[in-house]
């Protein structure tokens, strides 16, 4: 689908993206994850053809020009606000090379798909943030691109807008390859198959989310306390490898030690009220902290 080899971008002497190599699997969702300033936007801009790489190769299966095969949504999409949603999408369709009839048809189709059909004759200036983000998706999928590049598509949205957006993306992933950047890991977890971890312009980890999980996952037991103070107290008294986040204490398990029985008996002997004790999978966030934090 898309192959990227040793992609590098320098601004002056500073390398913003260096030696990035990866490949996307067709019709999957890949998350590009990294802290602010890791080079996510620069990478996406190069893939979208907005920036020319300093060196490296971007290869698409199809030899047609990049612009016709790729749909791009910037982090803060800006529209000609004096246009109506329909006028905007229709114009962009024509500029993407659709025939007049097709552009008309597609404009209506994509607006219906993103749920803006009833607002199609309204000026964009009156749109809310969520509506603009959906309009951004509409203009990105207009020309039926095989590859969709989305820069932080959910970060600026409220929870409802976010879940709407993720539903749209999941639907799109049936026919499209999606690469999107994010730093909201909780959302990414629920819809991502592949992950690319970026840090300081370099890809530090990549692969299927399950594989990466396996690689970094030391099995652990998560204890949820009723009181946050109890959690803190338990953690401070413990000689085990633990980490605390709010009411949850995570105990790392090495060579089957400590065992669940050991933990249970410890808890039974303690005065703390426990809500839940369970073997837990590593969350994307913990994985991210581990991968990115490694050489920090």
């Amino acid at each position: 689908m898309l192959q990227v080899e040793q992609l590098t971008k320098r601004f002056g002497k500073k390398a913003v993206v260096s030696d990035v190599t990866f490949e996307l699997v067709p019709n999957t969702i890949t998350a590009l994850i990294g802290p602010n300033g890791a080079g996510k936007t620069t990478t996406l801009s190069m893939l979208a053809g907005l920036l020319t790489p300093t060196s490296g190769i971007i290869r698409l299966d199809n030899p047609r020009p990049v612009q016709q095969q790729v749909g791009f949504l910037p982090q803060y999409p800006k529209f000609f606000e004096w246009m109506t949603a329909f006028e905007y999408v229709n114009m962009m369709g024509k500029l993407s090379g659709l025939s007049t009839v097709d552009a008309l048809q597609r404009a209506n189709d994509v607006l219906r798909f993103v749920g803006l059909y009833d607002e199609r004759t309204q000026r964009i200036s009156g749109f809310s943030g969520g509506m603009k983000q959906r309009l951004g998706i509409a203009q990105a999928i207009l020309h039926r691109p095989k590859l969709l590049l989305l820069d932080e598509p959910v970060s600026a949205l409220d929870p409802i807008g976010r879940s709407d957006m993720m539903k749209l993306l999941r639907e799109l992933a049936e026919t499209t390859t999606i690469l999107y950047s994010t730093h909201i890991l909780h959302d990414a977890e629920s819809m991502t198959e592949y992950v690319l971890f970026m840090k300081d312009g370099c890809l530090v980890e990549q692969g299927h989310i399950d594989e990466v999980q396996q690689k970094y996952d030391a099995p652990h037991i998560a204890i949820t306390f009723v009181q946050e103070t109890d959690a803190l107290q338990f953690a401070s008294q413990s000689e085990l490898h633990v980490s605390v986040s709010e009411r949850v204490v995570t105990v790392e398990v090495h060579n089957n030690k400590p065992t669940m029985q050991h933990i249970m008996s410890r808890l039974a002997a303690s005065p703390f009220q426990v809500e839940q004790v369970a073997y837990a999978k590593m969350t994307l966030e913990q994985m991210f902290m581990k991968v990115v934090g490694e050489d920090a």
Binding site: G49, L51, Q68, P74, Y76, K78, M91, L95, G97, Q139
Partner: protein, 260 residues
Amino acid sequence: MRNFTVLLQKEWREHVRNYRILWLPLVFLLLGMMDPLTYYFMDDLLQAVGNLPEGMQITIPKVSAVDMIVATAGQLLSIGTIVFIALYCGSISGERKNGTATLLYVRPVHGGVIFMSKWVMAAFMGALTTFCAIAASGYYAEIFYGQLPIVRVALFVGIYFVFLLAVITFTLMLSAWTTTAIAAATSIVVIIVGMMLDSIIGTYWVYSPFKLSAYGLQYVESGIVPEQLMMTMLVTGAFIVVSGLLGIVLTQLNKRQTNV
């Protein structure tokens, strides 16, 4: 070509939606009316608001209809030029800066098409406003001061329009090249200061785009075609072509400066 039509339609729509298509001709209509009206009613105006001492005598020189066109032309050259620089210095760099251009630039649209769509729209506004100003001025000039030499005035409008085209092309080229503020400042300095310099020490050369306005005025005043006019037209034409080509190249090159 299709992209050009689509983008020109976009420019037109923008001009309609922000009412520029309406208020800009109106401003120039007023600009054109001002000179003949104030001249004609100067006496009454002075008596009404002048607070002049008793027995004061003012002789207002006799003017002709053509003098009114000359006066309006002077307005066009100063105020009109500045208005056009101010309105169009941000039309390319502004879209880059506010990020609206980004979603255009990810599509297969050449910078030249973007530049030309803006240029054609600005040129159209230039023609429209020039016509409004001269028509308004000419209308009152004829009412107050008698017959105007229509052909002479029409020819002058043509000459002035070529000068305005040079201003527009230069401004758009700078807008493609730099940021809005720099484009505005440079345009105003180069064109306004250039016009001044040209009139002060311009005796050392005979052909320059700035001279075009001077020759135009000379022609409409006297009715005699200055012998350098043809050559100056050619020089200005070349200036427009070079600025335009430069603008096209710069629009394409500076696509990468768009705010993502």
